[in-house]
Symmetry: C2
Subunit: 340 residues, 2 copies
DNA sequence: GATCATCGTCGATACGCATCGATGATTCGA
DNA sequence: TCGAATCATCGATGCGTATCGACGATGATC
């Protein structure tokens, strides 16, 4: 592997000049720049990341802490990961994978060994055990998810409260007076993953304002549980039933159960699921969706951390950003009554 | 951040001694070792990765090239990624994400800048454009998937031929004389992803030996396409129909179509899907599955590359490893006729 | 009891780059 | 026409670790 010294010799300049050509931190004459660039090209020189990190104290690597809970809808996680990785590259950074299994010590490790300059944590829970560690690390950290106490933390997430509100308003406008929310998996609910609460707050607030009834029913990966929830909802509903299934896996089951009850979404029942446009296209039926904007959340998370990294900010920054959600009408919901 | 020099001072020894305590590459007396370890503990010293990489020419990082094709079943990819990351940690390595979007130049970049010591490529296609680059890189690379010409490459994958064979044999034993394979997404088939061919070879070979008819019908994310395939299959089937759906997304659609045709898996029709045990548990019905062992494939891929890294092997190694697949009977297939 | 290997530790050096201060070359104004 | 200011480049140094050669101390050998 050629080094910057080799490039310097080939170009007939000093090594430091090569460095300045690359960084642009000092003016370089057009002539020397050309010479150096030619030498770089010819030797196919690429700067050594280790040496660069050692000298500059920046690795240009961001640690991404990913969850692996089988109960989570894995396809959505992959969408986060993929967009985060690509966005990071656009900001000239790389992504190091840190699995949740490593826990808090894992965070200390990658930061302590200076393998990465900052962290993005996915699936942050309300009372996440890693938060004390995060606060004590002297590097920028961006959380995807809003913990109970966001003091001193930088957080971003979809605006789940808005999502809940939008769903209920939308269904109310379509003429439903009772709206049933099929919850996330119990494993997720029990973890007090904070977005569940926020979503509920949104649905309930809108329900109160509109005089609509909202039922919260258990979800899960068990078909019987969903079936039970659906039957309960049907029993308590006057008029045409309406369902919201914010979890991808629950969605699939709900569809099956409804079909077994002889109900067709968009005809005699309304269903709103959650899906990004990418995933919505893969749905078996055109599903009216609440888009929680995973790609946008991911992009902003990367952008924020890159800003923090550039600013070289040591102080305990704090911010909370909520990404607006979007309802897209497809044919799984009833159309509003005329004149409404 | 404390350095090894700080540790040395605290322990009253030379910096090199600290280094030898950590690496164990030279004998150290019990007494000194204790002193050094105490100092490390007290200062919470962690070696600097950049400096280490610079001096040792090893980053202990493995680049993982992940695909992001919406047509692929994302949940399965996530399973690979997650197991690979965890296994790498067990071998004291980290995983750097490289997205497919970066293409061949991306591979050159991470290797050229010496950000990682080796690569794992997922979703390698039959005639992958990255192969020439892979061959020219002077670092170990493990491919998950078998390209058309594996000369000079290290490959590992599930034994798709075995999988196809197992599925057909199993369904034949259950009394089916016609077996319909619903293909992967056309996007996948068109890419000549090589496992499709291998799977087909397995089904056809077994069919020939057993005197069974195998139909290959188009799959995809379009429900109508699947419905069409199912209807064709039903038309050509005498006796009870049997389906194999090796793609996760296709599986979901197949279930819906069958149900709309009044067919119940395990009662009047057999269905074999592909799923690892982890994912099978999330299925809405107990699906008889062919397990393509993603976790095992991932584990072995990491193990292989770590061995290559230790061996510090420069020469163009070559190997091809196929992981045996496993059929698990659940209630979506008919039971063999008595006496069979 | 002198010789020689072995053991444990130290000091020095290299890894490849970024960065700072210094220096020579050039330009500008008075 | 000379000093000041600016510009372009160079040389030297440090980043934190791994590793090699050297060296004193210890124990074994005949």
């Amino acid at each position: 592997m050629p080094t910057s010294k080799d490039v310097a010799e080939a170009a007939g300049v000093a090594q430091s000049t090569v460095s300045y050509v690359l960084s642009g931190k000092r003016p370089i004459s057009e002539k020397t720049r050309k010479k150096v660039e030619a030498a770089i090209e010819q030797l196919t020189y690429q700067p050594n990341a280790g040496a660069r990190a050692l000298a500059s104290r920046k690795t240009r690597v961001i640690g991404l802490v990913i969850p692996f809970i089988p109960e989570l809808h894995m396809a959505s996680i992959m969408e986060f990961v993929s967009v985060i990785a690509n966005t990071a590259r656009q900001h000239d950074h790389d992504i190091l994978l840190v699995t949740e299994d490593e826990g808090a010590p894992g965070l200390r490790r990658v930061v302590g060994q200076q393998i990465c300059d900052g962290l993005i944590l996915m699936q942050v829970e309300g009372n996440d055990e890693r938060l004390p560690v995060v606060r004590s690390l002297n590097v920028p950290v961006v959380l995807i998810g809003i913990p109970r106490d966001p003091t001193g933390l930088v957080c971003i997430d979809a605006d789940f409260e808005m999502a809940g509100d939008q769903c209920v308003r939308d269904l109310a406008a379509a003429g439903h007076s009772v709206v049933s929310v099929i919850d996330w998996q119990p494993e997720v609910v029990d973890r007090h993953v904070n977005y569940v609460d926020r979503f509920m707050r949104g649905t309930d607030k809108a329900a109160g304002e509109l005089g609509v009834t909202v039922l919260h029913l258990p979800g899960g990966t068990d078909r019987d549980v969903i079936a039970d929830s659906v039957d309960k909802a049907l029993a308590k509903t006057t008029g045409s039933p309406a369902f919201i299934a914010p979890d991808g896996t629950v969605q699939d089951l709900l569809r099956r159960v409804l079909s077994s009850r002889g109900l067709t979404p968009g005809v005699d029942v309304s269903v709103i699921g959650s899906a990004s446009p990418t995933l919505a296209d893969l749905q078996p039926i055109p599903l009216t969706t609440i888009d929680l904007r995973p790609a946008e959340v991911s992009r902003r998370a990367v952008k924020i951390i890159c800003q923090l990294l550039e600013a070289d900010s040591q102080g305990p920054h704090e911010s909370l950003e909520l990404v607006p959600t979007v309802i897209t009408h497809r044919s799984s919901t009833l159309r509003p009554p005329r004149g409404a």
